[in-house]
Amino acid sequence: MTKMQKIWLGVFLAMFIVPEILWSPVGNFVYELEQDTNHVTALRINFLTKSENIDLWSWVLLLQFFGLLFTAIYLIVLKKKFKNQVVLWVIAVSIFVLSLYVLNLYRLSSMRFTL
């Protein structure tokens, strides 16, 4: 891979990883979704988990979705640069599936309850 290709791959991965390290948007959402309770709690409480910041939470999830999606696509575009094709495809497909999952989280997070 060229240096530029590595940078782009890093940027796409960072779109997912950096928010996750800072605020765990996906981790928190999955953790809360998995709780079958009337009082879900966050894995890591931060400003994103506040009620009025759910819009921001959604946007970050969308950003992470695109980060994963672009990463998967870019890996496939660069497939010839990798020696072990099997590992490459397993990783790319896994990231793609993860991106779809994050897209679904975005869908759920962007609902606005107007009771």
Partner: protein, 955 residues
Amino acid sequence: MKKLLYFVVSLLVFIPSNSFAAMGGGGGGGGGIPPPFQNNCYFNYWLQNDDNIFQDYQSKEYVNGLLRIHLKVNGNQAGYSNINHYLVLYDSNCNEYFYYADLSLDPVLNIPPNVSDISLRFVSPTHFQVWNDSTNQILDCLQCDVDLVSYGFPSGLRASFRLQISDYVNHMWDWVNSEGFFVEDPNFQQKNPVLIIPGTLGTEMWKGSEKLWPDVERMTSLTHSSDAFMDPLAFKSDGTPLDTSLRLGEVVGKPRPEFDYAESFIQDLQSLGYENNKNLILFPYDWRDDIAKNANIFLKQKIDDILASSAFSKIDVVAHSQGGLLIKRLLFDRPDYQSKINKLVFVGTPNLGAPKSAKMLLYGDSLGIEKWRIGLDPQEMKKLSKNMPAVYQMLPSRSYFDHNEGYLSALVHGTKVTYPDYQQSIVGLKNPLYGLNSNLLDSAGIFHSENFDNMDFSGTGIGVYNIIGCETATIGKVLANDGGSELDLEYVAGDGTVPITSASNINGANNFFVLSNKDIHGTMLTQTSVSQKIINILTNKTSSVIGITSNPALCVYKGNKISVHSPVNLDIYDELGAHVGLNDNGSFEQDIEGVQYDILGHEKFAFLPSGHIYTVKLSATNNGTFNFYSEKIEATTVQSTAYYNSVPITSTSTAELVLNADNNQTINFTSDSRIISPSAILDSDQSQDLTPPVSTSTIVGLMGTTGFYRSNATVTLSSIDSVIPGRESQTSGVLSMQYSLDGGGFQVYADMSPIIIIDEGQHAIKFYSTDRAGNREPEQTIEFVIDKTPPELIIQFSPKLKDLEFTATDTLPSIITKDVLTNTKPFKVPSIKFKDSNSIITATDAAGNTIQLTLKDKDRKRLLKAEIKSLSYNGQAVEVSKNKLNFVWSFDKKDNLNFLLQNVQSKKNFNILATYNGKKTTLIGKDAKEHIFKSINGLVILKATTNKGDLSWSY
């Protein structure tokens, strides 16, 4: 650095020493231990103690802001005859008040031998008890539970305490004294029990172990297909639950990461020391049921229970949405409960109702639990709400009309009308077409009496606070559609569900407005600003909260309401490309904060709050035309309206427009480069025009009988926009008239260019006009017939009548073969009318066309002969000098026809003479083909016919 050090040292030097003491105050209230009061008030001459029976004063604490003094007994009470206790109280001027146990009562203070730890506990500022700390039970003695007020002590005193044992016989005694402390913790923030009453849908509903509400996972899962699992939530038509086995769960907390109804608010309260089920109580209730029933039975009982288990005589209440109506109802019906409420905080309460309830009943609502067409089905909510009393009780009330024009429009005889008052609105909703519950509509009217809606809290002694959303587009008017017209929604300022005029209608309340244009109603309690404001209210803090104001003038409700009326999709983009609208796959996306988007049928509506540059994209879904509106709204008033009337499109048309500050943007077609300017731009007054114009038609022509014309018809249309007296400025004026001839397409009617109809036959013209505000009058239809052709006569001799017989033919039945509008059988053409005055025979058709044949002799029946004298059509004589029409006849004595002469001649000299002699008929003459000479046995009757001014014959 040196300067900083000097500054710190100087501060320390100049801080008075007693300030440190003051800084250390507080106990159970969380602020440290308050100091004893000043020595000159202190009961200091009883400090000695031999530690024989009593140890020194141990400690004191504040619990719920009230003093507890702990003392220790050594247990060696043998030989002593009396134990009593004193309470010494001081007012602010150090005046002393003594309470001491009545020695005449035995036992005055019964301390069991094995009890070592006792305490004096104030349960109110004027009420104390003596407790066994080991068992945490009140001691069993007559003087261990004392109401000081009944002894004449004022409240607000400070206290020290003395416990004394004495033996008056042997002159022995021992005692222990506490220092003097404030009975009430000066640093204590009073924490009355707080009762939280949630709103509609704010309580879990269960059927056995199955959660019916809110099971968001089932509603939103990708495999979601139906919301029918919620069907047991429905009510019967008599307003009672369909399934009585359902049970209430908890108040909805935070069941989902994206939906925090009350959880973080409760956590905020807990962080201040409130404890669940102790002084923080939630009130789950059946939000579907009658509000008065929930209030007067269940809420009342809840308050009783709280106070029965609390040292406090009052509670604080935080009521969200429908919860506000519950507590208000209870306090209205039971004024004696007003003294049990200390503070009452209303949050987004629909005091006068909310038009969104009407929308729920008429169209249903997904409650925002929907994304990309996966989620709660609006029709399910419509079905469930149909018989729920509470939903009806949240319809706008009578008093709503004191502050609003009306919330419901409907089509009355094809015209959109806003019901101007409560009663008409209810009658409108009772239209069987909507299938609503009439009984519940009536009972909702009884629930919202004028006195209830305008209840004044001023004299109740309750601190009433009202938190109101004021910047969010909120449904303010719904069109009850019975088909055929454009649907409509109108938005007003509010919190997304409750209009500001409804939420703010609490007399005697301190109003606070939430400065947010988000749809916050459902999560109002957990908005940081709202939560903080409520906590400030409960804890007597007056500090301001960012995002909350008491000045309604700071509310900014500003933006554009746009709507498109079929067959077009509406997509909205902000300057960053965020999108609201339907995706290519038909799913719905809502990514711009504050944008309100509603779809009713094929109509789309959106409110776009100011602060963004919006691009609106339109894409056709079919051939036809669409109407587009852009209303610029500031401070709840429509400043201007841009109206685009009947823009033609094909199914592939696409267009976009960028909303301008002056609202005169053009629709730019990207598919065919057309640029469409607004058909009309209205000012603020004209934008209020809700009344359609009225068109009239005039037909000019030679009129026969009603509905028939004997000439070309010229149809002139005219229209005027209706003016409501007193609201003349709200008349926008006529924009255009459209007409359709004989079932063809509509076209614009141009002034000074009347419609001229030449063709004979039946005709129909449909027409309507539209004003510049887009109000369209219902279609009118005029039908008429043009028949320019008079009938023709058939003249024959009738042996039976022994006279000439006249019949007629008319073209009308042949030109009216089918109805021009319905394409069905034509109307029945009226028969031709005859008038035979012996010498003048007149035939008149349905249109009034006449043919008149005049004979030379006036008495043909006596003379037994007839000869044409003249012939006229519609009064216009035609030349008949070249024609012949003669009949002569006679009878024998037996009255049998023995002679008949029939002679007809056309203008072209074709003629025939038929002579009958009683046996045979001789025919002589010529026609266009040949000469005629025939002799035929028997009688031959000629059939003479008028034909456009000439004569013809046949036999």
